[in-house]
Amino acid sequence: MDRKSFLEHVGWTGAAGITWTLGASGVMTAVASAAAPAGALSFIQISDSHIGFTRPENPDVAGTLKKTIADINALPVQPSFVVHTGDVTHLAKAEQFDTAKSILSELKAPLITLPGEHDVIGSSDAFMAAFGKKDAPKVWNSFDMGGVHFVSLVNVFNFEIDGKLGPEQLDWVTKDLAAQKKSTPIVVFGHVPLYALYPKWGWTTEDGAQVISQLSRFDNVTVLNGHIHQIIQHTEGNIRFATAAATAYPQPAPGTADKPGPLKVPDDQLLSVLGYRTVELAGHDAKVADHNLA
């Protein structure tokens, strides 16, 4: 991903009044400090920190995660929570989780952490020891806040063909969504993109279409994922999908390289392709903005 595409401004006003703003750090402050309507809820998404990665694409992934946390902590209005959408570590090693946890614990806002496939290599034990919650033994979970229904999905445990949710989780999410009103704004988190973004590189959830079809009946749905280390937006009816930038290193745009993997950018441009995402929800409006670390 080059700087130009990262900085590309995307304006998006759909029927649900969602505005997407993709901006440089200058935009960040303006967006974050914008007066939010009474009752508005805001949260932040971060993703793909790959603690333990040491290669030239980013020899200091701990440093860029620390910078991300510092930038978030410096925001004038703190979010209700921060969600990390996975690949906290590079190789799921206990010491990598320890490092990640100590950096993430500096956040002022509460943290929700989902696993990526790099966090569950071999087993999910190290992830669960670091970030597991007793009330969500399978990690997938839902909660309500400020009139919004949030759903966290895990599409990395049953990796055999592509990212998969699996029958047990599909059954759970079907019941969870069936209990929600059509007018309730829905926000879905997960690591791997839920739709077939680029299956050739595994950038898809094999059984994701079953969830998408259930989401299609709602007026306002936002699906936020990581995994691909770049911002790609997509819309299907009232469902807006967006993948997030990493805090570690970028990856090539779909089909622009022979294979996925770390993408080397000039050192002085690295911070401009890493970042975090703010989301403001008020009534039926969702304002999503991506901010780089430069």
């Binding site: 290669r55 190789l91 770390p262």
Partner: protein, 112 residues
């Protein structure tokens, strides 16, 4: 299968040059699967019961060697990481990379 053939030739040369090499030692010629450009090579790989395979990750990305039936699992192999596994049962074993599940390969183990 070119590599397996080359391996056999190498084993024979070793036998010729060392003179004293026993048949047991030729059977122990290293069998290697390289992981490069998100592919396992060679595949399918034919083995005999008791053979040991060394998997080497030549990619910049970490990979795993994970049996679809979970009968073996390398866990994470970082760049230049290696992992050995001895196949003790005959059968056809499909395996894949947990990190990149579209990477698939097969090992066929024949009884002695």
């Amino acid at each position: 299968m070119k590599k397996a053939f080359a391996g056999a030739v190498l084993a024979m040369l070793t036998l010729v040059f060392s003179g004293s090499a026993s048949l047991a030692e030729t059977a122990a010629a290293p069998i290697v699967v390289h992981i490069k450009d998100f592919k396992y090579n060679p595949t399918p790989l034919k083995l005999h019961v008791g053979d040991t395979v060394t998997f080497i990750n030549d990619d910049d990305e970490p990979h795993t060697v994970t049996a679809t039936d979970k009968s073996f699992d390398s866990e994470a192999l970082d760049t230049s990481g290696t992992w050995k596994h001895t196949f003790t049962k005959p059968g056809t074993f499909a395996y894949f990379c947990e990190l990149h599940p579209y990477m698939k390969a097969t090992i066929v183990v024949e009884g002695k």
